[in-house]
Amino acid sequence: MNPFLAAVAIGIAFGWTLERAGLGSAPKLAGQFYFTDLTVFKVMFSAIVTAMLGAFWLSRLGILDLSQVYVPETYLLPQLAGGLLFGAGFVIAGLCPGTSCVAAATGRGDGAMVMLGMFSGVLATGLAFAPLCHFYESTARGPLVLPDLLHVNYGVIVFAVVGMALIAFQFAERLEKRA
């Protein structure tokens, strides 16, 4: 299969699903952080649970070689700091990089502006990267996964994540009813 086409096809499915869920609309996304609309949380964690279970079982059945799948590497401090910054930017902009593309594609001017801001932020940070380089490379842990960090079986973590997600969904439903 042509890698170009595969990437585009996967992207089309990704963008379609995001739009279907309503995640191409900034006010809806921002509602997550004022507890009025918890769609972001529901979609994100349903996806994580589905893909996690799918990866586990496809690997277990010998259909997917999990060791061949790229696992994002762990860099403790940069990802902590980057995460906090990213979250702050997210609630200001109301859209994340992927959903901003969906918003722009559906005609939302704010989506296009978020994309422009993202690009500028990445460009500026890249150009001024020299002082950040040391921090950027610090606390590397390679492709560290939770089962190894916590010294438990992979299946235990899978079970825990599913359990936490299901409980959290119950809370989310109750929170939304109250809003």
Binding site: S46, D65, L66, Q68, R141
Partner: protein
């Protein structure tokens, strides 16, 4: 309703996963040849370390990254039906060449297709310390290789045959150059460039690059590497 069905399915699969313990199939090995997916431009691929491993294998691990204890050479290979896309790699080398530790580290980090790292030292030495993804064997002849695999012999005699390379300096060179790259503050720019290159891949494997006043006279040993910890 659909929601309840999804929740139930997730719960069931989650409980079964808890019982199953680890995602590896019974005959699945990490050496599945030619299954690399992706793209020339893809970022270096990583892999989840050995999950649900047995207590005894912990001793041979490097920090966090090594996932594979050596398995016997003749395991049955279960080739997944969906293997991902084949990635072509443009490296051209003459067989029987030597390869530096840093370059081997980059190959391992970048999931070079068909790479096999073979360690011909004793079981005891292997248990004490071995490279990530290395396999132990008594001799090259006792192993089975595919035509498109690249073999790097970490220690021991090489065979000038097919795509066989020898790690220059063996495991001590790996420890020195990849796990503990060290340079003095007044090194030449060329040496500095080599150190920078080694540092990047070193951190990936949990190593510690350092700049010192004086290069150490003796080489680091495996025990010191393991003791450094987090």
């Amino acid at each position: 309703m659909i929601r309840r069905g999804l929740a139930l399915a997730a719960a069931l699969l989650g409980v079964l996963a808890l019982i199953a313990g680890h995602p590896k199939g019974t005959n699945l090995t990490r050496r599945n040849a030619g299954v690399l997916a992706g793209w020339p431009g893809v970022r270096p691929a990583a892999y989840p370390p050995d999950s649900g491993s047995l207590p005894g294998t912990a001793a041979a691990r490097t920090r966090n990254v090594d996932g594979v204890s050596a398995e016997a050479a003749n395991l049955e290979i279960l080739r997944p039906r969906f293997a991902g896309l084949r990635m072509t790699n443009g490296a051209i080398r003459q067989p029987g060449n030597q390869i530096s530790a840093v370059e081997l580290a980059e190959w391992i980090r970048d999931r070079k297709p068909g790479l096999r790292v073979v360690d011909l030292r004793s079981e005891a030495a292997f248990e004490e310390y071995h490279l990530p993804r290395a396999e132990r064997a008594d001799s090259l002849a006792s192993m089975q290789f595919n035509a498109n695999e690249t073999i790097v012999v970490v220690s021991g005699a090489a065979v000038a045959d097919r795509n066989v390379y020898v790690l220059r300096g063996g495991v001590p060179a790996w420890i020195d150059e990849v796990m503990n790259p060290t340079i003095t503050a007044d090194a030449t720019p060329a040496a500095r460039a080599g150190y920078d290159r080694a540092s990047i891949v070193s951190r990936y494997f949990g190593g510690v690059p350092r700049i010192v006043d004086k290069l150490p006279a003796t080489r680091a040993n495996a025990v010191a590497v393991r003791r450094r910890g987090c």
